[in-house]
């Protein structure tokens, strides 16, 4: 331990962060066991447990911040006041300062979980900035969504199970977030998958839902093969190295350190990385395994907002960010012009955004938007912009969750449980002011309008893409931003502006696009979207009750302000300081550290840390006896001039889309047929329709038919028929293969052989029976003949 090292502050909350997942887990058990008998059907247990977890998470966050500060304080002490001072005023210097700040040791605690070959493997917590950030995020959003759900699914016949699953999900996610090792990570990962299955299929009376659930679980499971294989590869790559240093090949710290140690074989890292990334693709709905995510919208809206937008789906991104060194070294990030992650991320951004254009189901729009945003995060990690990507997880969670909840609110109170923007929405802004406002704030954030949170995270990614020399993906990012703006504007307009249509206009019709046939099934009082009949009682749209709006407001607020945690534009960089691991080499014996408070290490190394990307962690091997836990990354320096293009593109996207939307959907006559009966209008060619017609024509004919249709429709067609077709085809072919193998191979050949042997034996017996003719003389002949033949043969042989 270097003499420069000094004690870091810690605290009860940090040391016992493992309680955060444990509480919801216990909550889950309680709900399952007693939920049905409770007044609130178990929801109270869920809420309480989430609140408790949130409390601990907040405590841990605070203490982590103190820990970081204490470290930097030591740093200042050791290095003279310059950095500390500089951090205050000069933003650019702050960037560097943020890097050369002291290494903050994660709070690691492990307990033996299992052992093999005398090697003990732990379960425990690994608390660093990333973990803290997600702990806070997950507990917080889970709580809000649970509050929201108490209203939204009230009266559902599986109310209790719903909350049980939500709580279990939170537990699983939290387990994964503070996972100390890969096995624990897999544990949380799979539990989330299970809950996703349960919740998507929540209304399993309809085959469509259960099929969607099956598909989601199955697709993700395909990716999980990568997780298993990758873990195995990495384990055996890292284990010996780690065991020498008192750890093992599952420990995430060990893996990171080993990957950066320079002793790791690149092929192992590469293939391990590929395998793990396949898992990430599956979980985070990246191209081409994204098809399950839109289908997952079959689940209740709270589920969509919690699992399938803000938390669970970022697990893949989290995985990559968590063992980033593996990918950094394995894929030569920053050394090669392009790598697997950027490719997948880029494709996902564009493809998903294009698909969002042609959706009529508001949730589907948001689903594709989510996919696209996840693409941004991946892209960020791929181009070496670790922090912006993680920051985007943070901001995206708030506004995307808000958007979903708003959509839910609309369908809950505005459109009689329909999600079809064209059939049942429109002009709801006046009817549901709160919902509309929150929606639009979140949209602004999503589109990346300046001073909304999305701007600070997404633009950082785009900016760093170019900063790190990925020009092509810089443009991909920009185009994606524009498209995002466009489709969100379209959705916004369709939902909240223009003429009210269908249910939004107070009409009742039971042929909803979505699935709740025979709500009032006799033998089971289940109700497809968990709405009691009192919703049907007062006709027409109205604002949702507070249990729905409150979360919306909170989230919307955060959608604005969460960005300022790291807004270079205004010179804040707390997120950087608190979350980003510092890429400096530290003494090796930091690798194994018990639960006690760690130490600020490697200050000596800092001095050698100037000079960009030539050396330092991830670029040159750490000196003997020292290890790195994270690559040394530099950040693009923000400047308005660099931000300008994206701002302009976004503005363009919004305006054109808004203008055209108004033109098309604002049509007072038969608004519902805006898209469908156009040609009919053309044929009639009424004079006073001409302008509209031209406009319509301009939009449909020029823009849409030239841009959206060829691209979006084609993309959509490919998506549905090829990608999705493959996914489903795999299922079908697997089944038919199974039948073929069973019928022909197993029953005919393998089993046939067995039965044949018995048959043969018995038939032989039958063939031998005639010998037993019952005739004495023949017996005698046989007797004597045998003796004689025997005698002759043996004589010939022996003499």
């Amino acid at each position: 331990m270097s003499m420069l090292a000094a004690t870091l502050s810690s605290g009860w909350f940090l040391e016992n962060a493992w309680l955060i997942p444990l509480i919801p887990a216990i909550g889950f058990v309680l709900i399952i066991l007693f939920g049905k008998r409770m007044p609130q059907g178990g929801s109270e247990v869920g809420l309480v447990s989430m609140a408790a977890s949130l409390a601990i998470a907040i405590g841990a966050t605070v203490q982590w911040i103190q820990r970081v500060n204490s470290a930097s304080a030591e740093g200042e002490h050791a290095l003279g006041g310059f950095f500390g001072f500089a951090r205050a005023i000069v933003p650019t210097a702050t960037e560097e300062g943020g890097h050369s700040a002291a290494f903050v040791e994660p709070v690691v605690r492990t307990w033996t979980w299992w052992q093999s070959g005398g090697l003990e493997f732990g379960v425990g917590q690994h608390i660093d900035g990333l973990a803290i950030m997600l702990l806070l995020l997950v507990t917080f959003i889970s709580l809000l969504v649970q509050i929201y759900s108490t209203e939204y699914v009230s009266g559902d016949r599986r109310f209790t199970h719903f909350f049980a699953a939500l709580t279990l999900f939170s537990a699983g996610m939290l387990v994964m977030v503070l996972a100390e090792n890969m096995i624990q990570l897999i544990l949380g990962w799979e539990i989330m998958g299970l809950c996703s299955f349960m919740l998507i299929g929540h209304w399993w009376e309809e085959t469509a839902n259960s099929k969607a659930a099956l598909k989601a679980f199955f697709t993700v499971r395909v990716g999980d093969v990568g997780l298993l294989v990758g873990t195995a590869v990495i384990f055996f790559g890292a284990n010996d190295w780690a065991v020498e240093r008192g750890s093992n090949g599952f420990s995430i710290r060990a893996i990171s350190a080993w990957a950066l140690s320079g002793e790791a074989s690149n092929s192992v890292l590469f293939w391990g990385g590929v395998a793990l990334f396949i898992a990430a693709i599956g979980k985070s709905g990246q191209f081409p395994l994204h098809t399950w995510l839109p289908d997952a919208m079959a689940g209740p809206t709270p589920v969509s907002s919690l699992l399938h937008s803000s938390t669970m789906v970022v697990a893949g991104v989290f995985l990559v960010a968590r063992v980033y060194p593996v990918f950094f070294v394995g894929f030569d990030i920053l050394d090669t012009a392009v790598n697997l992650i950027t490719i997948i991320g880029g494709i996902t951004i564009i493809a998903a955004a294009a698909l969002a254009f042609v959706q009529d189901d508001i949730k589907k729009v948001l689903a594709y938007s989510t996919v696209s945003q996840l693409g941004y995060m991946m892209l960020g990690l791929g181009v070496g912009a670790w922090l912006p990507a993680v920051f985007h997880i943070f901001t995206h969670a708030f506004f995307k969750c808000a958007l979903f909840l708003a959509a839910g609110s609309v369908s809950h109170s505005g459109s009689h449980h329909s999600f079809d923007m064209k059939k049942d929405m429109g002009g709801l802004a006046r009817k549901m002011p709160v919902t509309a406002t929150t929606w639009m704030i979140s949209t602004a954030a999503l589109c990346g309008i300046p001073f909304f949170s999305g701007f600070f995270s997404k633009d950082e990614i785009i900016d760093n893409a170019s900063h790190n020399g990925y020009q092509f993906f810089y443009w991909v990012g920009l185009i994606g931003a524009a498209m995002t703006a466009a489709y969100m504007t379209r959705a916004t307009y369709l939902t909240f502006f223009g003429k009210a249509r269908g249910a939004a206009a107070g009409e009742h019709h039971d042929d909803h696009a979505d699935d709740h046939a025979d709500d009032h099934g006799a033998d089971h009082g289940h109700d497809a979207h968990g709405h009691d009949d009192h919703h049907d009682a007062h006709a027409g749209p109205h604002e949702s009750p507070w249990r729905i709006t409150a979360p919306l407001v909170i989230l919307a607020t955060l959608a604005i302000f969460s960005g300022y945690l790291n807004a270079p534009a205004v010179g804040t960089h707390y997120f950087t300081d608190w979350v980003e691991p510092v890429g400096v080499a530290v003494e090796a014996d930091a690798l194994h550290s018990a639960g006690d408070e760690g130490h600020a290490l490697g200050l000596a190394a800092v001095t050698a840390e100037e000079g960009g990307y030539s050396e330092g962690c991830g670029f040159s091997d750490p000196a003997e006896g020292t290890v790195c836990y994270a690559p040394k990354l530099s950040h693009a320096v923000f400047s308005w001039s660099k931000a300008a293009p994206s701002i302009l593109l976004v503005a363009f996207g919004i305006s054109i889309s808004a203008w055209l939307s108004m033109g098309v959907f604002g049509d007072r006559r038969n608004p519902l047929k805006g898209l469908t009966s156009r040609s009919g209008i053309a044929r009639r060619g009424h004079a006073f329709l001409v302008n509209k017609y031209y406009l319509d024509h301009l939009y449909e004919g020029v823009i849409v038919r030239a841009v959206a249709y060829p691209m979006a429709k084609a993309a959509y067609w490919i998506n549905q028929n090829i990608l999705d077709g493959i996914v489903n085809g795999v299922g079908r072919s697997g089944r038919s293969t199974g039948e073929w193998v069973y019928r022909n191979l197993d029953q005919r050949v393998v089993d046939g052989a067995v039965n044949a042997s018995g048959f043969i034996a018995s038939e032989t017996g039958h063939a031998l029976q005639p010998v037993q003719s019952g005739k004495v003389n023949q017996y005698g002949a046989l007797l004597f003949g045998a003796a004689t033949v025997g005698a002759i043969v043996l004589i010939l042989v022996n003499i």
Binding site: W113, S116, L187, W204, K211, V233, H524, G738, Y742, D751
Partner: protein, 529 residues
């Protein structure tokens, strides 16, 4: 030989193993008409046995789980140098205990789920005899003794399937019997060959594990071949598996549970305990074959499952796949693999046993297991439906449940097998096996979606509503569709709890097994030049 033995409390194994015979004797003198008495005797006997098992757990010195404890070695058949040698170590302890518990729970389940053929007297007597055979196989430390116990199991199971089974019970039972018989006959020849090749001194495991390694390679390969057939049939491994689906499908619930939970383990246990340590070089030569067959079994079993229309038969095929993982683990000859295999044995015993319980209860209620006719189980009997879902999840290896710890380390271990086995081959096997987990998810969830989700099948649904009152069509579908009964709760809860506990804290078992396994692998390594 580094296998030192502990002889304290060495009465405990003998008592625990042969105690059920006392119950059998008692029942002989009770007329068959007194069915309740018989059931009571059965439950009490197995309960006492299980109590002895618990005592064994308490007295077991977990600190030295690699050495044989409660060790007994007395003359038995002196002329052929076979002794009554018994002992328990970390490898056999879990299975030994499991056999007792499973028997007890099956007894309890029998209380009001007696198969249609009736006659609980012989049924329960057979189960008790079965228990003796199973427990004995796990404590035997002498080849001949092991063989005897190994065979004792046959007849009772033959009758359980044949008398209390389904439509084609006679075919299935005979197939089971002859198939196993075939295996064990060749196995016996192999045993004797091993005995004489090691100088015809003793049949005790310890001695053979020491002397067997000195046999020259080719001979070892031949002897291993014999044992391979014997154990592979029991496991069952891919080409020898066809008795299993028939036996499982036709057997009564109790039979299926015991078969899945314990009997199949005799084969894998034999590999770990006998074939591999006694014939290291043979094992090394055969390992790739075993590995390949195992992985074929994984995929093949899964495909078989996808083809099934009968719930029970599907579960049976899933056993083939799961035992494939176990065998893959064993074939790597690594601590990881063998640990995983042992864990997998217990896990598979619990999970598949549970699934068979459920299948039995479903059959009991619906009088059919046709997947197409079952649906909406969650509506008609939510608890049973949830238990089914739970077991299915456990069976597809969901982390946090027991199944995972048998599956994942096995896959992991295949990444670099021991003793210079071909890595490329095994890595291919690893990936295929990992894909097998996807298939597992596929068939189990598909099963779940078809049976539990959706709306109940009208034919049963209508019935469920009427049956409450006037039993008009009660006799038509038998009893009404009711949810889990108290007896079933009693019988199942331990399974469910164990699945969770071992899933959440696997160290409970790894802690016991690992030292023994490490010692074993070390011994094997010593035998391979």
């Amino acid at each position: 030989m580094n296998m030192e033995t502990i002889t304290t409390d060495n009465w405990i194994l003998t008592v625990g193993t042969f105690l059920p015979l006392v119950g059998v004797l008692l029942m002989m003198f009770v007329p068959a008409s007194e069915e309740r008495t018989h059931k009571q005797i059965g439950i009490i006997t197995s309960a006492v046995t299980a109590a002895v098992g618990v005592l064994t757990l308490i007295r077991f010195d977990f600190g030295r789980s690699e050495s044989l404890q409660f060790f007994v070695d007395t003359e038995w058949i002196s002329v052929i140098r076979s002794n009554y040698t018994i002992g328990l170590d970390g490898i056999s302890l879990p299975l030994y205990f499991l056999s007792m518990i499973v028997t007890l729970l099956v007894m309890i389940y029998t209380w009001d789920n007696m198969p249609d053929a009736g006659n609980p007297k012989s049924f329960i007597m057979l189960m008790l005899v079965l228990q003796v055979g199973m427990a004995g196989s796990f404590i035997a430390q002498d080849l001949i003794l092991f063989f005897v116990f190994f065979e004792v199991v046959l007849l009772p199971m033959y009758f359980m399937i044949g008398v209390w089974g389904g439509e084609q019970r006679q075919y299935a039972s005979l197939k089971f019997f002859l198939y196993t018989m075939f295996g064990s006959a060749l196995m016996l020849v192999a045993f004797l060959a091993l005995f004489f090749q090691t100088g015809a001194e003793s049949f005790s495991f310890a001695h053979l594990a020491e002397a067997g390694a000195l046999i020259d390679r080719d001979v070892q390969i031949w002897i291993f071949a014999g044992m391979f057939v014997g154990f592979a049939v029991k496991v069952p491994m891919f080409p020898f598996h066809t008795w299993l689906p028939d036996a499982h499908t036709q057997a009564p619930t109790q039979g299926s549970v015991i078969l899945a939970a314990i009997l199949l383990k005799l084969g894998t246990y034999g590999f770990v305990r006998i074939a591999i340590p006694m014939l290291p070089q043979g094992a090394k030569a055969w390992a790739p074959v075993i590995g390949i067959l195992a992985v074929i079994g994984i995929i093949y079993g899964a495909l078989g499952c996808l083809a099934q229309t009968d719930m029970k038969r599907l579960i049976a095929f899933s056993s083939v796949a799961h035992m494939g993982f176990v065998m893959l683990g064993i074939s790597t000859l690594t601590e990881f693999g063998i640990n995983a295999a042992l864990f997998g044995m217990v896990a598979h015993g619990l999970i598949t046993g549970m699934l068979f319980f459920i299948a039995g209860s479903v059959k009991h209620r619906y009088h059919t297991l046709e997947i197409n006719r079952l649906s909406g189980m969650l509506i008609q009997m939510p608890r049973l439906g949830w238990i089914l879902g739970f077991s299915a999840m456990a069976s597809l290896g969901l982390p946090g449940l027991a199944g995972f710890w048998g599956e994942f380390p096995a896959i992991l271990s295949a990444y670099n097998p021991n003793f210079g086995l071909d890595e490329t081959l095994y890595r291919v096997l690893m990936v295929i096996a990992a894909l097998g987990t996807v298939l597992a998810a596929a068939y189990l969830l598909w099963l779940y979606q078809r049976t539990a989700f959706g709306r109940p099948n009208p034919e049963f649904d209508s019935h469920a509503t009427h049956a409450v009152g006037a039993g008009v069509n009660d006799d038509h579908h038998g009893a009404d569709i009711h949810d889990v009964t108290p007896i079933e709760w009693i019988a199942w809860t331990p399974f469910l709890i164990a699945i969770v506990v071992f899933g959440v804290y696997p160290q409970l078992m790894f802690d016991v097994m690992d030292p023994a396994v490490s010692a074993l692998v070390e011994r094997v390594g010593a035998g391979i030049p």
